[in-house]
Amino acid sequence: MDDNRSTRRDFLSNAITLGSGAVVFLSGTSLAAGEEHPAERYDWEAHRYAYVIDTTKCIGCGSCVRACRAENEVPDGYFRTWVERYVLSAESSHVDSPNGGLDGFPPMQAGFAPTKSFFVPKMCNHCKETPCIQVCPVGASYRTRDGVVLVDGQRCIGCGYCVQACPYGSRFLSPKTHTAEKCTWCYHRVTKGMKPACVEVCPTATRLFGDMKREDDPVRRILEHERVAVMQPHLLTEPQCFYLGLDKEVR
C-alpha cells in the first residue's frame, strides 16, 4: 500500500541519516522509527465499514469509474468498479457495460420494446466469508479488522486463484504488477477519514460509504431500516456491499 511505502521511504531516509539503517531495518523495528504517519493514529478496531448502492439513483455517468481509475491507477481494460446498464421488458433483456461505463453510456437500440431500464454500479463486495481469502495459497488476501478485503501486493504470487474464486468478477491480475488487484474501498483514504473516491464523486449519492460502529451513520441507518439485498446471496459469501432497488435480472 502507498501508506506503507511512504512510511518505509521516510524511515529509510531517516535511518540512513542516522547511519544505522540496515541494522534497524533487519531488526524489524523500522516502522516504529521516523515520524508518525496519520494512518498510524488510526484504530481499526474502532470501525467496521459497509457500503450501500442505491440503484434507483444511478444515472450511469461513469464518474465513479473515472475517479477510481485516477485514484488507484487501474490499468486499461481492468476495473475495480464498473457500471452495468440493464434494459428490460417482461420477455427480453439487454445488459451491457461498454468499457465498464468509464465513458458513460452511448444510446442503444435494444431490438425489443423496453419497459424499464436502470444502472447498477458493481465492485468488490468485501465479503465476510469470502472465497478469495480462503483460496489464496500464501495468505496475501486478507480482511482487515475494520472489514475491508485487501491484497498484499508484496506477498501475492500472482497465481490467479482468487480471481477465479471471486463470484463477482471483482478481481484481476494486473498487467503492471503481475499481482491480484481489486477495490480497496480506497483504504488509503478511509483510514484518514476520507471517503472512497467513487463515493466522493458520485453526483446522485448512489454510492454511500459508512461505518457500522457509528450510531448516527446513514449507511447503518439504511441497513437497519430499509430492505436491502446483496449480490448472489445463495453463495453465502456475506457481502458487505448492500444494494437498494435491486432487480431479479441483476446477478
Partner: protein
C-alpha cells in the same frame, strides 16, 4: 481483444489461467496414472505388469520432476512461488500442493531406491573411477546384498507402494479439487471433479505406458509381451469407460437439473467448446478408442499380435488427446464463460512464442521423456534376469507373432 457474446463482467474477459494450467494437470496425470500401473504389479500382484513396472515407476518420477514447472512459469511473481511451500495458507486448496508434492516425491524417490538398490550396488561393483563413485553414492555406500537385506528391500517396496498409491491419487485428486472447489464457477464446481481428474489420470498414465512400452521395446530390441499389452489394454478400457461415464454424467446432471448455470453451459459446450469437447474429447478421444479397445478386449483370442499392438497404440494416442482435451475444456472452458452467466468470450488461442505459449508446452511435454532416457541410462527401465534365468527375460529375440 476477445470478442464477447452476451454480457460478460468487464474483468471476466481475460483468460488468466493459460495453457500452462492445462499442462499442469496433464503432466501430473501421468505421474498418478503410471504409479497406478506400478502398484498393480508391486501391490496387487499383477505379474503381467512386471515388464512395465520399472518403466512406470521411472515415468512417474520423470513427470513428477517437471510437474511443478508449468505452475512456476505461470506465476505472476515466480520468485515468490516457494512461499506456497514454506508459508502456506491452509484454508487454500492450493496450499496442499507443497505438502502433497514433496511427500509424494520422497515416496517415489525412496521406492526407486529400494527397487534398484541391488542393481545399483552391482553397478558400483562392476564399474571403476567416477562411475563407481557415482553408483556407490547412489547406493549410499552400503553394499549389503544379503538375502535378508534384499527381503527388506522387497518389503519396503510393498509398503512404499501402499503409501505411494494413495499419495499419487491425492496429488492428482487435489488438482481436481482446485477446480471442483470453486463455487463461483458452475463449470468447475462439482464434487465429481477430483474423481474425474483422477480417473482420467489413470487413463492417460496407462495409455502413455502402452506407447512407451512398445516404443522402448522396439528401440531396445526386446520382445513385446502379449499378456502385458492385453492386460494394459483391458485396464485402459475399464478406466476409459468409468471416466467418460462420469464426464457425461456431470453434464447430463446439469442439463437435467436445468438450473440457471445450464443456460450458459449449454451454449459453452455447443459453441465455444464444440470442437474441443464434442469432437475431440467425446468422439475422437473417447468413442473411437472405446471401439478400438473393445476389439482388443473382447476379440483377444482372435487377434494377431501385430493388430493388437497397432490397435492399442492407436487407442492410446487418441486417449492422450482425449485427456489433453479434457484438461483444456475444464481449465480454458471454465474461463470462457463469465460469472455474469450472461456472456461467453471468444476462444483462447495461445501463441507459439510466449512464456506460457505452445512451444513452452511442447518443451514441457518432451522434458520428461529426456529425463526418462537419462533415467534408463543410469537405472535400466527393464528388470534384469533373475538368478537362474527368468523365463521372460530369457527371450531376448522377438518370438514369432511378436512385433
Amino acid at each position: 481483444m476477445p470478442e464477447i457474446s452476451g454480457y460478460a463482467f468487464p474483468n471476466d474477459i481475460h483468460v488468466h489461467w493459460s495453457l500452462m494450467i492445462v499442462m499442469y494437470p496433464y503432466l501430473t496425470g501421468f505421474v498418478a496414472g503410471s504409479f497406478i500401473v506400478t502398484s498393480l504389479y508391486h501391490l496387487f500382484g499383477k505379474k503381467e505388469f512386471q515388464p512395465v513396472a520399472r518403466l512406470a515407476l521411472g515415468t512417474s518420477l520423470c513427470f513428477l520432476a517437471v510437474a511443478a514447472l508449468p505452475l512456476q512459469l505461470h506465476l505472476g511473481q515466480p520468485q515468490r512461488g516457494f512461499s506456497v511451500m514454506v508459508t502456506p495458507n491452509f484454508t487454500s486448496a492450493m496450499a496442499g500442493f507443497g505438502i502433497l508434492y514433496s511427500f509424494y516425491l520422497v515416496i517415489v524417490l525412496l521406492e526407486v531406491w529400494f527397487v534398484y538398490r541391488k542393481e545399483i550396488i552391482e553397478a558400483a561393483r562392476r564399474s571403476r573411477g567416477f562411475k563407481r563413485k557415482f553408483y556407490a553414492a547412489l547406493a549410499l555406500w552400503t553394499y549389503d546384498t544379503s538375502p535378508e537385506a534384499l527381503d527388506i528391500d522387497h518389503r519396503a517396496v510393498t509398503i512404499l507402494t501402499a503409501i505411494g498409491l494413495p499419495s499419487a491419487c491425492m496429488l492428482h485428486g487435489y488438482v481436481g479439487f482446485i477446480f471442483g472447489g470453486i463455487k463461483a464457477n458452475p463449470w468447475w464446481s462439482t464434487p465429481l471433479m477430483p474423481v474425474i481428474f483422477l480417473l482420467s489420470a489413470a487413463v492417460s498414465g496407462i495409455a502413455l505406458l502402452i506407447l512407451l512400452y512398445q516404443v522402448t521395446a522396439r528401440l531396445q530390441r526386446r520382445a513385446v509381451e502379449r499378456e502385458t499389452v492385453q492386460s494394459l489394454a483391458r485396464w485402459l478400457w475399464f478406466f476409459l469407460i468409468i471416466t467418460v461415464t462420469l464426464e457425461l454424467l456431470e453434464i447430463i446432471m446439469l442439463a437435467y437439473e436445468h438450473s440457471e448455470e445450464w443456460a450458459i453451459i449449454a451454449p459453452l459446450l455447443t459453441t465455444r467448446l464444440q470442437f474441443s469437447f464434442i469432437s475431440m474429447q467425446m468422439i475422437i478421444g473417447s468413442l473411437i478408442p472405446f471401439i478400438l479397445l473393445a476389439i482388443v478386449v473382447l476379440l483377444a483370442a482372435y487377434l494377431h499380435d501385430r493388430i493388437r499392438n497397432t490397435l492399442t497404440i492407436a487407442a492410446s494416442l487418441l486417449l492422450l488427446l482425449q485427456v489433453f482435451s479434457m484438461r483444456w475444456n475444464v481449465v480454458i472452458g471454465g474461463q470462457l464463460l463469465s460469472k455474469s452467466f450472461r456472456g461467453l468470450r471468444s476462444a483462447y488461442e495461445p501463441h507459439l512464442f510466449e512464456k506460457e505459449g505452445i512451444l513452452t508446452a511442447i518443451l514441457l511435454f518432451i522434458a520428461p521423456f529426456i529425463l526418462l532416457y537419462v533415467f534408463d541410462r543410469v537405472l535400466s527401465i527393464v528388470e534384469p534376469p533373475a538368478p537362474g534365468g527368468h523365463e521372460r527375460e530369457g527371450e531376448r529375440s522377438a518370438s514369432p507373432g511378436q512385433a
